[in-house]
Symmetry: C2
Subunit: 249 residues, 2 copies
């Protein structure tokens, strides 16, 4: 018996999110089926991040245990032949038998894409949030700086989440602007994120960009620990889980 780790990329457009649910197609259910067919065992993968419907990933992580003799590194090739084009395994390798991606210290990086121009771009219709009004990216950058560090992010957590603590540490946050397409990308790295946290941070930065909120008010919003003080939750389709790095100590 060995434990295999998969780095999983997907376009979330056609899935009801990661987590298995009765009656709908999810990334997890498609993976379970592909791994089970490949190994001839009844396999349930365990994922690192249960992304919402419409959210994308370049590097989500899943593990499963198998008695298969297929070499760990070959699972990527074998699974990609059995998976649809919108789910691709980027890497497979053996990990320690007690490694669980959800209960491990890690650094996660998310990216949120906004298309800010007069009219939408067809190629981004499923992978970005379109906004036509003027956005002040300089102010958005000032506001973003306030999120860096260890804070209680209760104001940036949707109701319904069951967590022991709402304290998280954001290591880095950057906003990249590409003028020709009017593309703005918010990239944030932290030791973990609350439910909808990146989308609520993005919604708050959008309010700052529009001028509805001043960058100076963001520290107060964080300190309030009140969801009602922060901006709205930005749409799922603009969000992408870029990577999960387990090499932190």
């Amino acid at each position: 018996m060995k434990r295999i780790m998969l780095v999983v990329s997907y376009d979330g457009t056609n899935y009801h999110g990661w987590q298995i649910q009765p009656g709908v197609i999810t990334v997890e259910s498609v993976l379970n089926e592909a791994v089970s067919r490949l190994t001839g065992e009844q396999i349930q993968v365990a994922g690192a991040s249960r992304t919402d419907a419409g959210v994308h990933a370049l590097g989500n992580v899943a593990v499963f245990d198998t008695c298969s003799r297929i070499p760990a590194e070959k699972f990527s090739y074998a699974l990609n032949q059995r998976l649809p084009e919108d789910i691709v395994i980027q890497e497979s390798k053996e990990v320690q038998a007690d490694f669980h991606p959800r209960y491990c210290k890690c650094r996660k990086t998310y990216e949120y894409t906004i298309i800010n121009r007069r009219f939408p771009l067809p190629e981004y219709r499923n992978t970005a949030f379109f906004y036509y009004g003027k956005l002040n990216v300089g102010k958005m950058r000032s506001a973003a700086a306030a999120f860096i560090g260890e804070h209680d992010f209760a104001a940036f957590c949707s109701a319904g989440a069951q967590v022991k603590t709402t304290v998280r540490n954001i290591y880095d946050m950057e906003i990249e602007e590409e003028q020709a397409e009017g593309r703005i990308r918010i990239r944030v790295t932290g030791n973990g994120f609350l439910y909808n946290m990146v989308r609520i941070i993005t919604g708050t930065l959008l309010e700052v960009g529009k001028g509805t909120l001043e960058p100076e008010s963001v520290p107060q919003i964080i300190a309030s620990c009140n969801r009602g003080e922060a901006g709205p939750t930005a749409p799922a389709k603009g969000l992408k889980l870029l990577s999960i790095n387990f090499d932190t100590d």
Copy 2:
């Protein structure tokens, strides 16, 4: 009566190309229907580039004549409300009554996207050609230089095209590499392109990148005027018509 010009962007994945054909959905047929419904007239647009099935555009151009009182600049907004998400008008304006985008001097810019890494990226599955083997981008750049200038491009034209001359002028060609995603973009600007010309140039550059052809042999291939000497036609889905500029004298 006035002549309106539209700058049209589309994701070509779900269309049988630009040109209207019986029994299938094309970009032109969807545009004709939207403009006709909006104006109440029976309108047929005339396009600048009849892109193939699967090819995308950021800035294809179409014109039509109308007696409608809608201001020229408002057609973009009004049409976008009636068009599917994968076709978006980026601009609308009035042009001279004798302006025809197909029979006008212009500069066209196309972009071809290759994803060159171990495994494909789901988000590029419809907009790039995936190639996993090693590509020498330096050699591809050397080879690209040979295309610049006025040449008889008969070796880079698929059979079946009816043109007076196969001489075209390529003004500029550049190859951009993005390491993180393994994305290679070939961008080419010219006064016009033969049938499949950009895709055959790309197929030839791919042979150079793989080492099957040397950059030094490209001038001979051009001089041969023999389609059999050039590389294969690269797949349609990697191609995008970026812009058409009519402001040249």
